[in-house]
Symmetry: D2
Subunit: 358 residues, 4 copies
Amino acid sequence: MSSTIGEKIKISIFGESHGKAIGVVIDGLPTGQKLDIDKILLEMKRRAPGNDKTATPRKEADFPEILSGIVDLTTTGAPLCAVIHNTNTKSKDYSNIKKCPRPGHSDYPAFVKYNGFNDIAGGGHFSGRITAPIVFAGAVCKQILMEKGIKVTAHINSIGSVEDKSFDPCNITDDVIENLLNSSFPLIDNSKEDAMRKVVMDAASDKDSVGGTIECAVTGLWAGIGGPMFDGIEGKIAKAVFGIPAMKGIEFGKGFDLAKMRGSESNDNFRYDENGNVYTQTNNCGGILGGITNGMPITFKVAVKPTPSIAQPQDTINLETKENDVLEIKGRHDPCIVLRAVPVIEAITAITILDLIS
Amino acid sequence: MSSTIGEKIKISIFGESHGKAIGVVIDGLPTGQKLDIDKILLEMKRRAPGNDKTATPRKEADFPEILSGIVDLTTTGAPLCAVIHNTNTKSKDYSNIKKCPRPGHSDYPAFVKYNGFNDIAGGGHFSGRITAPIVFAGAVCKQILMEKGIKVTAHINSIGSVEDKSFDPCNITDDVIENLLNSSFPLIDNSKEDAMRKVVMDAASDKDSVGGTIECAVTGLWAGIGGPMFDGIEGKIAKAVFGIPAMKGIEFGKGFDLAKMRGSESNDNFRYDENGNVYTQTNNCGGILGGITNGMPITFKVAVKPTPSIAQPQDTINLETKENDVLEIKGRHDPCIVLRAVPVIEAITAITILDLIS
Amino acid sequence: MSSTIGEKIKISIFGESHGKAIGVVIDGLPTGQKLDIDKILLEMKRRAPGNDKTATPRKEADFPEILSGIVDLTTTGAPLCAVIHNTNTKSKDYSNIKKCPRPGHSDYPAFVKYNGFNDIAGGGHFSGRITAPIVFAGAVCKQILMEKGIKVTAHINSIGSVEDKSFDPCNITDDVIENLLNSSFPLIDNSKEDAMRKVVMDAASDKDSVGGTIECAVTGLWAGIGGPMFDGIEGKIAKAVFGIPAMKGIEFGKGFDLAKMRGSESNDNFRYDENGNVYTQTNNCGGILGGITNGMPITFKVAVKPTPSIAQPQDTINLETKENDVLEIKGRHDPCIVLRAVPVIEAITAITILDLIS
Amino acid sequence: MSSTIGEKIKISIFGESHGKAIGVVIDGLPTGQKLDIDKILLEMKRRAPGNDKTATPRKEADFPEILSGIVDLTTTGAPLCAVIHNTNTKSKDYSNIKKCPRPGHSDYPAFVKYNGFNDIAGGGHFSGRITAPIVFAGAVCKQILMEKGIKVTAHINSIGSVEDKSFDPCNITDDVIENLLNSSFPLIDNSKEDAMRKVVMDAASDKDSVGGTIECAVTGLWAGIGGPMFDGIEGKIAKAVFGIPAMKGIEFGKGFDLAKMRGSESNDNFRYDENGNVYTQTNNCGGILGGITNGMPITFKVAVKPTPSIAQPQDTINLETKENDVLEIKGRHDPCIVLRAVPVIEAITAITILDLIS
């Protein structure tokens, strides 16, 4: 088992939801990089609970302590370790799920894999909470990417059946990017916010939860990054994204819609612009051909399943009695994690892109 | 750049479409495994061109020569190298695409990445032809999996807008599996064959191509395989699948449909069967929770884009004149690669699963 | 750059000598392993400074705080992170070496590699202090190995020109092992202690330092572990050992003496003992043939260079003035690190062996 | 098990001594590199048997066929596969060793590891013959290094007790390098050739074999390559070198002699030369400090054990009867492999260095 990813920029995630601390070691960062801590904290706040009514009211003191790898907030080239201490944990909420695995959760397969020794409290190492150090690492990588003109931006693409517009994949302007990063509910078409919130609130009032999709774009990345076969960009991003809990699908560019198209529709024709730069007239491929960037924005969408922790009684098994049972999950849970997952998807994408160009 | 994948079972793919040979080195196979060459050849024939009217009439002598790693057709534990010599190649067909990159192909990004030195003939190392050694490696892995009761089976899930039924993810019988493996056009609902063939033939007669989707299932795999975060099954399968040319999306279980569900619908409740075995009443998660198998069949779908090589004139650029240009692609090309990709998806999945349990 | 090693048991080391903390993330440990903290602390005390007159009198509070991966001191299967906070640091001692690189130290090549941004204080990430978390990780691995009957034991093989006896590589008894582990100056022939101490004290009084060798043995490991070529045991141990600062040579079994032998002398003949177990009559190969264990004890020796930090004035360059200069290193330094390196060599070997058999 | 090494330049070795072919896949080579086949053949001839009286008279047709990765002898960036077909094999010579493992050989541990399924003929995948593709890959890497001014050169440092001079590690001239590369018996002090040959011939006439040492140097490599801990140059070279059969020790710079020195002797003082370039007045560290190059030549020595295949009767076990037995090895064997190992050490070092700077 490994919570490590990357080749040149390696991150190693540790920690359990209700343990002493969670954190990350980042190895391979360029030296001499000045870190803007405020920007890092801002990213972490975007992911933190308690910011929005659609998320859990539980508060987390997600303040990262950097133990190594910097002097005067400047990277030394040595591995950077950041730790986030766990404070506001309510272990008692998880007393019954040790024996009755929660439907939709990792409890049962983890019980089998770890012979029952895994830390079940708060989801342990499977908890969504361990995405906090990923957001920290992503915020560091984003700053380095930004200096190279590369931006990673995501938005809520849908919640339940309510859909936002997609990016215009040929023209993702800085205005669009800025608006999304500064929004507490990042949408391209803000008129959908109320309908989306209603979907979440309705689910919450039914003691239920709801899923959604996120679209992410990488702009400013030049052509020629990636490689054929198992070094392809799609595979690298997909492996990273599926490392985030609750992600169940990913598609690049038009993705599954390409399957219904003809080649004459789906092929993106090449053209020179007035400055002699190559572009494509459409961007159905999401900026990637043969696993390699073609210089157009990378775009992809991910499917986020509904939060499995719901307050309704659910049928499950009892691992002690070996009989069927019913479980009612206590505690405070997000009725929808899509909003909080937006900065996480940005973060893991930024880490992957920096790894690719390092 | 790397055409290598796997940790315990490592495969390394080499070869260009119109070079001397293509092949694979497989490292880490168990010793003493007797190989059934007929079964391997059968798998390779499923992928080979010229078998079906929906595919290219071009013939390939896809006969693998095993150079190492076996004595008396039994694995020795040393790396197994198999080579497929290229014979029927028509390099002249590719004379104009060196300067005019084909829309939808890797030509342009590969030109940038390799400074123009990549072998363009027949797509070079990016050609769909290099999936032949993957099918060889997959056929070897399938035999080893079969002895452990694990089967990997795929079918055409859709071509254009014509859809096959999906697997019943809670009950994939040996009958269903056998029917698919023995079919020259693997569908669960065979009544859809004619409509699908018509979609392909219509596209072909329009000098066009068409995409589709493939569904794949892994049955017989026990609970507890995989791991959290970057060791998750979804990420490993996704990285492998995106190594196959033309794949643009992947979703596990209900995938993108989960995004529209509520938790009470999407959660798969656990139950004991009469023998005390754990199962889930639904299998929306595709057999994977928290990146770990739960003992139910793994199911996933992939999006296959339309073949980018179409005979219609297409707008593109001329890398020599630095001006916009028009390209007409000559040669024989598949109007739809979905059928031929079915055994490839099975193969890369079998390689991945064997790696996971080795 | 990477401070990570291992395939199934991965360790990731972080921290600089004078930063906030140093530590390690251990990924891949078996679940349900009860840790004996007293034994871990004992190992760390063996490496800690201030224990012996031959070492620096500087005290370090090497108390590891385990942040994750355990519940009730039992491993959960999630990554285990342990942190050792730095307390007793005297950064002022290192003021002049930023511009004048110390002969024999990494200062100059690190300056080139990191463009001067590396943390020079106390040697930063190159400091011998970062072996403390390695000893922690090794102590964890040793406990797991011990339950399988595998022991890793090292002793001072020489200091300067004074040599200890070597292990009898065919018969390393538990008595010999116990004596070494419980000794504050581990020698097989204790009569050499005084002479060795005199070599160190003489060097110290001359403001100089002295090198030595360490011999390490792994007992209880069965035949068949390792592999040919780049999976060989020698290569894995060597890569791990050279990760420890100051190691400049390694030889397995009779090592460089084999180069002077004939095959009839060096070959270890196989025999069955009275119980039908295979053994070799000699063990010149150090328990490894073709990169694979043969069931006899693994033995190897490493060369430890003299501590480069000496108090004598030394010729060096001044990176600011770009002129030749003279440096006098201040601060407290070990006149000989061989004694303190003994548990470090054991630790890195234990980590490597556990990785190999996991 | 894995016969793969490298991160950016990955080589994957396959083949058994008496199988159809042996070969190598090289992944990650720079594109557009013109290969000089004559130089490659020259390197392979240096390793080939039958060239010198000290080696086996057995002839091998070591002509590599390049299957992929080049067009017009220029690298395309795709994996380069080269195959050497096995022709002159005498499998009957190895009939008795299947049951009676040869002392000093991998037969017994391989039997255990592979449950008896490994290919014993000619040593199978453990044979020295599989170093032929390593020499091929090294010859390719050497050409690329040469264009960057980096040269890798080795010589016989000793055979039995007869020693050659060592390199002057501060001043390895092109004259010295040229003389060694063009010599059929590469020595710095050619007056030692007769004595060395006599040692080998005496052993041969006694049906015995003899070991030796090889010294290797890398010149022209700049400062700042490598990294601390497990990214150190020593560890990378050591892991690669121990992948070559019969290597049992390695030491960098003064190596084990450093253990007897004081710091004031062993430290290499830094100086500026008249052009403002940094050098060290001695080079006891072998050009490596803290795992990173300091710009001086890298030098290291390796210990080569005597060929284990000797014609004298040797005590061993019989795996069929489970009783002690006596073995007489038939066939033609090298009485000393040191001479033939010289280009192999150069090759694996060149591969490692190119990987480090890619």
